[in-house]
Symmetry: D2
Subunit: 275 residues, 4 copies
Amino acid sequence: MPVTLAGNSYGKQAVRLVTVRRFPDRHELKDLTVAVRFEGDFAAAYTDGDNRGVLPTDTMKNTVYALAAGHPFENIEDFGLLLTDHFLTNNSRASKVQVDLTEHPWEPIETYRTAFRQAGSERRTAGVTRDREGAKVLAGLEDLVVMKTAKSAFEGFPRDRYTTLPETADRLLATAVRATWRYSRPDIPFGLWHQVRRVLLETFAEHDSRSVQHTLHAMGEAVVRTLDVEEIHLAMPNRHHIPVDLRPFGLENRNEVFVATPEPYGLIEGTVRRG
Amino acid sequence: MPVTLAGNSYGKQAVRLVTVRRFPDRHELKDLTVAVRFEGDFAAAYTDGDNRGVLPTDTMKNTVYALAAGHPFENIEDFGLLLTDHFLTNNSRASKVQVDLTEHPWEPIETYRTAFRQAGSERRTAGVTRDREGAKVLAGLEDLVVMKTAKSAFEGFPRDRYTTLPETADRLLATAVRATWRYSRPDIPFGLWHQVRRVLLETFAEHDSRSVQHTLHAMGEAVVRTLDVEEIHLAMPNRHHIPVDLRPFGLENRNEVFVATPEPYGLIEGTVRRG
Amino acid sequence: MPVTLAGNSYGKQAVRLVTVRRFPDRHELKDLTVAVRFEGDFAAAYTDGDNRGVLPTDTMKNTVYALAAGHPFENIEDFGLLLTDHFLTNNSRASKVQVDLTEHPWEPIETYRTAFRQAGSERRTAGVTRDREGAKVLAGLEDLVVMKTAKSAFEGFPRDRYTTLPETADRLLATAVRATWRYSRPDIPFGLWHQVRRVLLETFAEHDSRSVQHTLHAMGEAVVRTLDVEEIHLAMPNRHHIPVDLRPFGLENRNEVFVATPEPYGLIEGTVRRG
Amino acid sequence: MPVTLAGNSYGKQAVRLVTVRRFPDRHELKDLTVAVRFEGDFAAAYTDGDNRGVLPTDTMKNTVYALAAGHPFENIEDFGLLLTDHFLTNNSRASKVQVDLTEHPWEPIETYRTAFRQAGSERRTAGVTRDREGAKVLAGLEDLVVMKTAKSAFEGFPRDRYTTLPETADRLLATAVRATWRYSRPDIPFGLWHQVRRVLLETFAEHDSRSVQHTLHAMGEAVVRTLDVEEIHLAMPNRHHIPVDLRPFGLENRNEVFVATPEPYGLIEGTVRRG
């Protein structure tokens, strides 16, 4: 029976890069995790064990460090563009190169300029994909953990024989936002990221939510309408906080005491685009 | 500016289900994590907060438990088929329902028939996707952690200015196999899973490996050639074990002492199919 | 052969409690994980399966929620004192009750008063232990992740045949501080926690570090000297950031490019006390 | 105000060591994580930044690899004895050296002798502590995950105003056993570990359990009575599996359908010793 290699890719994951730039009055700290992925004409390695076209993933890792040394960058998108350009230019068998970058944020400790505190689990992300036609950039963020204690309801849903969920006009709404977006112009300054994040946070806080879906859409719509963003995808797990039933103890729960449950959780996704 | 909801889905993740069937001579224990995901005509929930079509994810969870009660199953694929059929039949707005199932294995402790030991991190998986045309089943496994201490090389690769990796004719090869496959006939007995797993393990053990790519392809090819499998996708992270340089201590490392490194790691993927 | 039950304890771990207090102008959000542990005269349960003295751990959990409902608190130490008092008063067999509390911080999103962002992995902790003599309180924090990019050296250490580490006058110093301390007066306002945290951060940032040990001691000394703290224990893993050797690529690393390594890591501990 | 360094320790954690011994007919694979910890006269490093007595933790790591090269071992306890002896002999300032070893198990794939499968999350542990008086060895295991589907009850417990837990004569009992023990003779062959593990498993399976406490004690008692073990400490989290209430769906749960809950969980500990 004939068999076909119907698809293939390879690369290096979890390359941990920290850079320090030393200015007279302060240091600038960058903390990244980088992943590199090649697609292309690598079938001989799979079928025949012919490694002549296989740039080692160890070399991909080295390249990340070597290029970081000579090319300071402000926005991770720019470093991703540099890396994909290098890899595609220097590897003729690769037809597509993808570089995913995750930035771990550090903030100066008070007014000290050479000491930093890790500001949280929230991360900035970028995905740069380049083929012989050009490059595409997806900006993003993940693990932006937020909670609303007002203006969140879930009512009016259908009920079947397995539905026991009570309707609620006033629930906690907690999630860990993951967002990726495409800017509407190729020459956008990537520092616009900070405004996208701000609009997402403000809309989450302000929105009169009838469901996670409803708030997700409002967040995406606000970004697309007010900033140079063509399309945004949002994934928002519903981290349920359930009011504890205190009646068995002769007490009333005035919507004040909750149990946070890690599982199961809802997962709501949506893409909002212009047009 | 007009905006469009260009895509949406919602569902429940991480529904933890354990079932016990009690036979006279033994108990049968099943331990599953189930995820349910709907796509369809749910735009009004996003854009207008209209929940009239939104079956609560809490109801999805309840349904998993309720159907598990009345329908014992041997293979998780069958439970996925049952669940997708139920959801699609009873929710006219849903155009596609996906149920992902992960089975955590337990083995009887010695000859005891009502006591079990969790046999490892390895898991069996199934993904069932159903739309109005019918259902598709992907069988799979993940976190099958294996290592070869012989018959593994990596040589003959290209070198550029950033390449420092030495060639090696005898290295450790360790990975955590993730595989998903599609059977070649719809009426296949899903217990064939055990044979796929066995062929994957045996081929990994026997293969004279020139690279992860090479072994991945051999594993996929063996499955597709010898069993009723149409197509298999394999993802194999290269968990590097690096020989420790003992020369600074006046010692020789005869390929016996290694440091296991969690990151960075290679990631090799490929799809092998018939034809 | 006679055997003895030489020690025993039991309790409930990982009780997740979220409370919301609703003021006219803002909401106050508390997010805690609570653990309860009893020691005492429980041997009959172990040796004879006699459960008559064993308050269920499920009841411990319920009690956490029930007492949270009626007793709003500002500092977690106060809630720990309340819980230990309740448990010891109502369970005559218990000779010692320990309650460990971990607070997960949330910050208001900008100026919104009913929407919050999880501010990071850093957590406030308290351990309250009570026996028939009275209660002891340990305040603390954990996962305070910090890094210095200046004023950190490690030189002058002894070398043996297995030593390859180069001396360095200018290295990155990164750690995740875990601290527990005992106040010097029983009537201390527990909000002093915020000043302890501030002194730890400032001393870390300012200190001219010759080693992790050196900085750990400076941090502990500053707390004990300047605040009402009798004794502080600090545990500081050394999260190594290693300069990448760029010479094979014809480049120089001017102390700017580092690889962050998760393992192995140093672990330095010390206790500083008055007197 | 005078301050004192009231305690201190330092060392290296998470040293990952994999060794392969190559016999004509098979390979032997060992996979360990090692931690080294010194106590002693190291105050000058803390108080004055004087590093002259501080063997770098990097050297500790190197020593683990260097000694592994020349000293193959069957049981991890022996490697711990070797390491502590080396460190204490060669570091006059150290008064106590502790080495903790964790072994990750691999099993041959079927009859292949140079290919292995990671057999699970269960781990063998050893803690060796040595001071100028001699060495102490604690053998152990952790994450031995087991479940009983019969012969487990929890009844007859006291009820207070916060107790809602129903009594049950037939529940699931699941735990992840962590055990540490001290052998009764210094010249014990450390391979006795396998028998301790077997007795723990068999007793768990056989025992007519009235509570986790009851089964924990039976397990410890069986080990101490039947093997050369002086004392054993057991920690057994109660991983609750809660019967799903199917009555709202018009169904009966005949003790067959459960939700596995990760938190909260009970935690039961006890020490059984001879005499």
